[in-house]
């Protein structure tokens, strides 16, 4: 998750217009890596547990959920948003009437409990804004004019709570989203100049922002109207096909495609080896080695963007 700020519309002691407060009030606790909202007033033991969590050492998700009593006399409605120290995911947990609205470049969506017990939990990526809402409220723009930034480690009562990525902080590119496929480090990454980084047969580091075709005498397929980079492997043995392998960026992932090569492509990762089917496409993580035959070995390298940005912080 990128850096951002928490904003809340905190009602003044005397409501400006009596009865105008249609949305329910929330009792909110903001920690270094979480925002928790309970239907106000929160039970005293919950308030105590979350005040402690907000001021104490950074709690993990299980710990936070464990602080919420369920069952009889438990909490009926809550929303909890938590994010790990690195990576770009946000985990949202909702119960009862609470809902979390999330905005990402792909659009807006809502997580509500839909009656799921004990709670409904889901992970989201590329989140640029969040709002605590209730399942009855409309899913409209997230920009409460009355909302003002609030400090972390705070407890307050509010009728709306939002989190926005701060201007200038880019949405973490999916480049390094805690790579499920290959176990690469889930570091945060910035979006500009995304490129594929690789090395052929122990040669120099190469980068390309466009799809790469590798082979003995690579040629551009007629079906590819976009610019491509053709890489001719000198001294490649007969095992290498004329146009053998394609590397291409899709979102933040690198997709390798065997171009129906004669002798096939073998994929080696830290955990094992497999042979690609002729024409097969797979996701390759940095550290993966593709063997095209003979000494033609293509190593997928981490892009520079993969390194964690120390200036990036969780919203605070």
């Amino acid at each position: 998750m990128v850096s951002g700020e928490v904003r809340a519309a905190v009602p003044t002691a005397a409501p400006r217009e009596a009865g105008a407060e249609s949305s329910p009030a929330w009792e909110v606790f903001v920690g270094e890596r979480f925002i928790a909202a309970f239907a106000a007033p929160a039970p005293a033991r919950v308030a105590l547990a979350f005040t402690e969590a907000a001021n104490g050492p950074t709690a993990d998700l299980e710990d936070l959920v464990g602080r919420i009593p369920l069952g009889p006399d438990g909490v009926e409605t809550f929303a909890l948003m938590w994010w790990p120290p690195t990576g770009d995911t946000v985990t949202a947990v909702v119960r009862g009437d609470a809902a979390v609205d999330l905005a990402s470049p792909g659009g807006r969506r809502r997580l509500d409990a839909s009656g799921i017990r004990p709670w409904h939990l889901a992970d989201f990526r590329d989140v640029i804004a969040l709002r605590v809402s209730s399942s009855g409220a409309p899913l409209d723009a997230m920009d409460d004019a009355d909302a003002a930034p609030v400090e972390p480690s705070r407890r307050f009562r509010a009728r709306s709570v939002e989190w926005h990525a701060v201007a200038g902080a880019e949405v973490a590119s999916p480049e390094a989203r805690g790579d499920d496929a290959g176990g690469a480090a889930g570091a945060e990454a910035s979006a500009p100049a995304r490129s594929i980084a690789f090395r052929i047969a122990g040669g120099e580091l190469r980068r390309s922002a466009v799809p790469v075709l590798i082979g003995r005498r690579p040629s551009r397929p007629l079906a590819l109207p976009e610019p491509v980079e053709l890489i001719r492997v000198e001294g490649g043995t007969g095992a290498l096909s004329a146009t053998h392998l394609e590397l291409r960026l899709e979102g933040g992932r690198i997709v390798a495609t065997d171009l129906r090569s004669t002798n096939g492509t073998v994929v080696r990762t830290g955990s094992g080896t497999r042979r690609m089917r002729a024409g097969e496409s797979i996701v390759v993580a940095p550290g993966t080695v593709l063997e095209l035959g003979g000494d033609t070995i293509v190593e997928i390298l981490p892009t520079q963007d993969d390194q964690a940005h120390p200036d990036r912080q969780a919203p605070a």
């Binding site: 990402s104 792909g106 004990p118 990526r125 499920d180 997709v255 955990s271």
Partner: protein, 266 residues
């Protein structure tokens, strides 16, 4: 292709919390019209209903999907399972794939998705799990909802706003998944718990169905056929009628009734 269990029009199970659930289900699979072999497998017997879509050269995909459903079927006869049991079954399946000498030497893997009977805080719940791009849908009150999120390149592109949902279907990498069971990876399912409600219907299917039918079409055939067996048949036939480009597997599970322990006592 490995089929474990098939259909049942009336099945009664009592969950650990005391709730009694009555189910009916139907499962079927077809090679499709373009493929030579069916690499899909399924298990359809309580407490697990799951579909696996195998990938890999020659017979490796079939081997992988069979390994997964065979391990999941080992829970057959139990009332309920939890996430640790499913995790363990998938880990054992990955080990089994490593033992397929001569078949899986060059790597094999599979998707897996399904729903298992479970109990959360004493409440009857479906434990929905997923790795890859097979899917579980829920139909409640005429509303169809996709319960699983695909682990695929196009899903990530849609999430990031780079392509639309419609463009995803025709994307050249529509089949490329970002997570699988096998290929030496530790299996990491997404889990979701869903209340078991009377009248609800679950659909567990491989992408051979969802590539041929839109969610509108899926909803239509589920609503038009109140019984599980004709519903599964209609979906399968429609997928074949639309081209049947891939193996198609369909499991339809109906929750007929849920009786809570307090109701039986009182």
């Amino acid at each position: 292709m490995t089929q474990i269990g098939n259909g049942n029009t009336r099945f009664r199970v009592t969950l650990p919390g005391g709730a009694e659930v009555r189910l009916a289900w139907s499962a079927m699979t077809h090679t499709g019209l373009r493929r030579e072999v069916n690499e899909d497998s399924f298990v359809a017997q309580p407490p697990v209903f799951a579909v696996a879509d195998g990938m890999g050269g020659h017979a490796a995909g079939d081997f992988a999907s069979a390994a997964v459903v065979t391990r999941l079927a080992e829970h057959g006869g139990r009332d309920a399972v939890g996430t640790p049991e499913i995790d363990q079954s998938l880990r054992l399946a990955v080990q089994d794939m490593g033992r397929g000498a001569g078949v899986t030497d060059e790597g094999s893997g599979t998707t897996v998705t399904g729903a298992a009977l479970g109990s959360i805080s004493g409440e009857p719940a479906w434990l929905v799990f997923n790795i890859g791009d097979s899917r579980v849908y829920r139909l409640v009150g005429g509303v169809l909802e996709q319960l699983t999120v695909d682990h695929s390149i196009v899903q990530e592109l849609v999430d990031a706003g780079q392509i639309t949902r419609d463009e995803a279907d025709s994307h050249p990498h529509a089949n490329v998944i970002t997570r699988a069971v096998g290929f030496h990876e530790a299996p990491l399912p997404d889990y979701r718990a869903i209340a078991i409600e009377p009248g609800m219907r679950l659909l567990v299917c491989s992408d051979g169905l969802t590539k041929e039918l839109t969610s509108y079409g899926i909803r239509h055939f589920l609503l038009a056929n109140p019984k599980a067996e004709p519903a599964a048949r209609a979906l399968l036939d429609a997928a074949l009628g639309n081209g049947g480009r891939d193996n198609v597997t369909v499991i339809v599970v109906d929750v007929i009734a849920v009786t809570r322990p307090t109701a039986t006592v009182g």
